[in-house]
C-alpha cells in the first residue's frame, strides 16, 4: 500500500499547479482548467482522509462525488460565460477583460 504522504504530496502539487496556473495563464479556458486541478486536489484529499479516518465509511467519497458534480455544472456556466465574452470581444484572454471596474 502506498504511503499517505505520497498521495498528499501529489495532491499538494496539483493544488499549487492549479494556483500557479490560475495566476499566470492568460486564457480563461486555461484558468478554468487550473480551477479543475485545485478542485481535484481537494477531492483526492477527501478520498484519502476518508480511508484513513473511517475505513468502513463513505462520507468523504460522497463529498468528492458532490464536488465533481458541482464542478461539472460550474464548467458549463463558465464556458457559457466565455462564449458570451468571445461574442463581445472576439477574444477570451483575461488581459482584455478589465472593463468590469469603477
Amino acid at each position: 500500500m502506498i504511503s499517505i504522504d505520497f498521495i498528499l504530496l501529489v495532491s499538494t502539487l496539483m493544488m499549487f499547479a492549479g494556483v500557479y496556473g490560475f495566476l499566470t495563464r492568460k486564457s480563461t479556458l486555461a484558468i478554468l482548467l487550473s480551477i479543475e486541478l485545485m478542485l481535484n486536489a481537494a477531492n483526492i484529499n477527501f478520498a484519502v482522509f476518508n480511508n484513513l479516518l473511517f475505513p468502513n465509511g463513505h462520507e468523504g467519497v460522497f463529498f468528492a462525488i458532490f464536488a465533481i458534480a458541482i464542478a461539472a455544472a460550474e464548467s458549463a456556466i463558465a464556458i457559457a460565460i466565455m462564449i458570451n465574452i468571445y461574442r463581445q470581444l472576439q477574444n477570451i484572454s483575461v488581459d482584455k477583460l478589465t472593463k468590469m471596474k469603477w
Partner: protein, 669 residues
C-alpha cells in the same frame, strides 16, 4: 336655533359644488356654466340671507331678555374640535347682538354682490371660479363673526385672507393683479403673526380661548347658555393682569393689518385690482371691518383689563383717518378714492371703540357710546360704501376706465347710478336723514366726551370726507365731460342686475337714516341702535347732542358747498389755482405720501440688503460649504483608492491568495 348651522354649511356646499364640479354639459358644446354657477351661488346665498334675517328676528324680538335687560348670548352649536389637556379649540356658533348684526350685514351685501356680478362679470373668463371664491369668502366671513372663541375666529380670519387673495388675483394674467394679491396676502399675514402670538399668550395665561375668561357652555331648554366664570380666579391665579394688555395689543396689530390701519394700510389701495364687486364685498363692507369686529369682540376684556391700551387704538385710528382722507383728496382713480375713503371710515370705527370709556354709576350706558357708535357705523358704512363701490363698478362698466379724467358729465347717461351714488355720498358726508349722519354723529359725540381735541380732529376729518366724496361725485357726474372719449363710446346705464343692488342698498341707507335721525332727535326707543347693541348690553335710547349734531351738519354742508364751488363747473379755475399754488403737496398726496416707497426702502434696502443677504451668504458659504467639503473629501478619497479595483481578475485572485496565506499563518502561529 340649530338652523343657524346652515348659514355656514350652505355657502360651503355651494363653494365645493361650483368649485369642483364641471357644470358644462359635455358634447353639447353649450357653455352655460356661468349661468348655472351664478344661480347656484346666488340661490344658496338667498337662503342664507333668509336664515340670517330669521335668526335676527328670533334673536332680537323673540328671545326673552335677561333680568338686567341685556340680550342673552346664545350658543346653539358648539363642539370640541381639538382637545389639548385643559385647553381646547372649539368650533361653534355664538349669537350675540354684534354677531347677529354682522350676519345681516354680510348676507345682505354678499347677496347684492352675487346678483350684481351677473351683470358685471358677464362673459368673463373664469366666471365659475369667481362664484366659487365668492361662496368661500362668504362662508369664511360668516364663520368669523359667529366664532365662539378667539381661535375659531383666527381660523376663519385666515380663510377670509385666502379668499381675499384669490379674488384680488382673479385676473391672474395681468401683472398688477398678481402683485396686488401677493402684497395683500403678505402684509396681512405679517400682521396676523402678531394676532397669533397674542392669541397664544392669551390662551396660555387665561387657560381659555373664550371671549370672556374661562367660560362654560350650559344647556337648558334646548338653548345653550354661555356662562363666563368668575374672572378673578382665572386672572389672579395666573397673574395675567400684566400680560393681558400685551396680548390684546398684539391682537390689535392683527386687526390693524386686516382693517388697513396705518402703517399696514398699503395693501388695500392695491387690492382694487380685483373685480369691483369683490372690492365692494371684501374691501369695503365686510372683510376689512374684521379688525374692528375683533376689537369689539374682545371689548369687555379691553375695557376691564387694558383700558389704557385703548389709547393706542385711538391714536392709530385718528392718524389713519386723517392720512387716508388727505390721500383721498388727491387721487384720480375712482376706486382708489373709495379705497382710501374706506380706510378713513374704518379708522372712524376704530377711534370710536378706542374712546369708549368704562362706565360707572348711572352713566353706565351712555359712557359706552363709542362702542355702539362704532358698530352702528360699521353697519351703515357697509351699506353705503358697498353701494358706492357697486356704483363705481357701473361707471367703470360704462366708460371702461377707472380714471376720473375719462368721466365727467355722466349724470345724463346713467340716471340710476347717479342718484344712488349721490345718496351714498350724502350718507358718507354725514347729512341728516341719511344713515351716515346718525352713526358718524355718535362717533364724533363719543370723541368729544373723550377729549375735545379728539372730537375736533374727527370733525375735521369728517369735513375732509365730505369734501373728497363730493370732489369724486362732481368729477364723475358733473365737471368737464370727456366728449372725445364719450363720442367714441357712448356711456350707457348698466343692466337691471347691476342697478337693482344699487337701489336696494340706497333704500336701506335712506331708510336707516330717516328712522334713526328722527329717532335720535325725538328719542324713539324702538328706533335706537343702542337698544340692540351697546357696550354693557343694557339697551338705551340714543339722544343726539344738539350742539355736536348741528356743528357736524354745518361742517359737512360747508365742505359739500366748497367742493361744489370748486369742482361742479366745466371750467375749474379754483382747482387749477390750488394745484398751481401747491404742486408738491398735491404730488405728495397723490403718491400717498410715499408710503409704498418707504416700505420698498425698508424691505429692500434695509431688511433684504442688510439682514437677509448676510444670512444668505452665511447659508451659502458656511452651511453649504461644510457639506460641500464632506462631499469633496469623499470624492478625493475614492479617487485615491479606486485604482485597486483594476478589473483584472488575476490581480484579485493574487490578493485573495495572499490573504488566505496570511490567515493561515495567523492560525498556525
Amino acid at each position: 336655533m340649530s338652523y343657524t348651522l346652515f348659514i355656514l354649511l350652505l355657502p360651503l356646499i355651494s363653494f365645493l359644488l361650483i368649485g369642483i364640479v364641471d357644470l358644462d354639459i359635455p358634447k353639447t358644446g353649450k357653455v352655460w356654466s356661468h349661468k348655472v354657477a351664478g344661480l347656484i351661488g346666488t340661490a344658496s346665498l338667498g337662503i342664507v340671507t333668509i336664515l340670517s334675517y330669521t335668526t335676527a328676528y328670533q334673536y332680537f324680538f323673540c328671545t326673552p331678555r335677561l333680568s338686567d335687560g341685556t340680550l342673552p348670548t346664545l350658543v346653539p352649536y358648539n363642539t370640541t374640535w381639538l382637545p389639548l389637556g385643559d385647553l381646547h379649540f372649539d368650533l361653534g356658533i355664538l349669537l350675540d347682538p354684534i354677531s347677529v348684526m354682522m350676519l345681516i350685514v354680510i348676507s345682505t351685501v354678499s347677496l347684492m354682490v352675487h346678483i350684481y356680478s351677473f351683470g358685471y362679470m358677464h362673459g368673463e373668463r373664469g366666471f365659475q371660479r369667481y362664484y366659487a371664491y365668492l361662496s368661500l369668502f362668504t362662508m369664511s366671513m360668516l364663520g368669523l363673526v359667529v366664532a365662539t372663541n378667539i381661535f375659531q375666529m383666527y381660523l376663519f380670519w385666515e380663510l377670509v385672507g385666502v379668499s381675499s387673495y384669490l379674488l384680488i388675483g382673479f385676473y391672474y394674467t395681468t401683472a398688477p393683479a398678481i402683485a396686488a394679491s401677493k402684497k395683500a396676502f403678505i402684509v396681512t399675514r405679517f400682521a396676523d403673526m402678531f394676532f397669533l402670538v397674542g392669541i397664544l399668550i392669551f390662551g396660555y395665561y387665561t387657560q381659555s380661548f373664550n371671549f370672556s375668561f374661562a367660560g362654560t357652555v350650559e344647556y337648558a331648554d334646548n338653548v345653550a347658555h354661555f356662562i363666563p366664570c368668575n374672572p378673578e380666579t382665572a386672572l389672579v391665579k395666573n397673574a395675567a393682569m400684566t400680560v393681558l394688555p400685551i396680548s390684546l395689543v398684539l391682537m390689535f396689530i392683527g386687526g390693524a393689518g386686516k382693517s388697513a390701519m396705518f402703517p399696514l394700510h398699503i395693501w388695500l389701495p392695491d387690492a382694487m385690482e380685483g373685480p369691483t364687486p369683490v372690492s365692494a364685498l371684501i374691501h369695503a363692507a365686510t372683510m376689512v371691518v374684521a379688525g374692528v369686529f375683533q376689537i369689539a369682540r374682545m371689548f369687555p376684556i379691553w375695557i376691564e383689563y387694558a383700558p389704557q391700551s385703548l389709547s393706542i387704538v385711538v391714536w392709530v385710528g385718528a392718524f389713519t383717518a386723517f392720512y387716508a382722507a388727505a390721500v383721498a383728496c388727491a387721487q384720480s382713480d375712482i376706486k382708489r378714492v373709495l379705497a382710501f375713503s374706506t380706510i378713513s371710515q374704518i379708522a372712524f370705527m376704530m377711534v370710536a371703540l378706542g374712546v369708549c370709556l368704562p362706565g360707572h354709576g348711572e352713566h353706565l350706558n351712555h359712557s359706552g357710546l363709542g362702542y355702539m357708535a362704532s358698530m352702528f357705523h360699521l353697519f351703515t358704512h357697509a351699506m353705503f360704501k358697498a353701494c358706492l363701490f357697486l356704483g363705481a363698478g357701473c361707471i367703470i362698466h360704462a366708460v371702461h376706465s377707472n380714471e376720473m379724467a375719462l368721466m365727467g358729465g355722466l349724470r345724463k347717461y346713467m340716471p340710476i347710478t347717479h342718484w344712488t351714488f349721490l345718496i351714498s355720498c350724502l350718507a358718507i358726508a354725514g347729512i341728516p336723514f341719511f344713515s351716515g349722519f346718525s352713526s358718524k354723529d355718535e362717533i364724533v359725540t363719543a370723541c368729544f366726551q373723550y377729549s375735545p381735541w379728539c372730537g375736533a380732529w374727527m370733525t375735521m376729518v369728517a369735513a375732509m370726507t365730505a369734501f373728497y366724496m363730493f370732489r369724486l361725485y362732481y368729477g364723475i357726474f358733473w365737471g368737464t365731460e370727456n366728449k372725445e372719449a364719450h363720442a367714441h363710446h357712448t356711456p350707457h346705464e348698466a343692466p337691471w342686475t347691476m342697478t337693482l343692488p344699487l337701489v336696494v342698498l340706497s333704500v336701506i341707507t335712506v331708510g336707516t337714516g330717516v328712522v334713526t335721525t328722527l329717532g335720535g332727535f325725538l328719542h324713539w326707543e324702538w328706533a335706537s341702535f343702542g337698544s340692540i347693541v351697546s357696550a354693557s348690553g343694557i339697551p338705551y335710547t340714543v339722544h343726539f347732542d344738539p350742539v355736536v349734531a348741528s356743528v357736524s351738519t354745518v361742517v359737512a354742508v360747508c365742505s359739500i358747498l366748497l367742493a361744489t364751488w370748486i369742482y361742479k363747473d366745466e371750467k375749474q379755475p379754483i382747482a387749477d389755482k390750488m394745484y398751481a399754488a401747491a404742486p408738491r403737496l398735491h404730488r405728495w398726496a397723490y403718491k400717498r405720501f410715499y408710503m409704498d416707497e418707504v416700505y420698498q426702502f425698508v424691505t429692500h434696502r434695509i431688511i433684504f440688503a442688510r439682514v437677509s443677504r448676510p444670512i444668505a451668504w452665511f447659508d451659502r458659504h458656511v452651511i453649504d460649504g461644510f457639506f460641500d467639503f464632506l462631499a469633496w473629501g469623499t470624492h478625493k478619497t475614492s479617487a485615491l483608492i479606486k485604482g485597486f479595483q483594476s478589473g483584472s481578475v488575476q490581480t484579485y485572485a493574487f490578493w485573495f491568495f495572499l490573504g488566505t496565506l496570511l490567515l493561515l499563518l495567523i492560525m498556525l502561529f
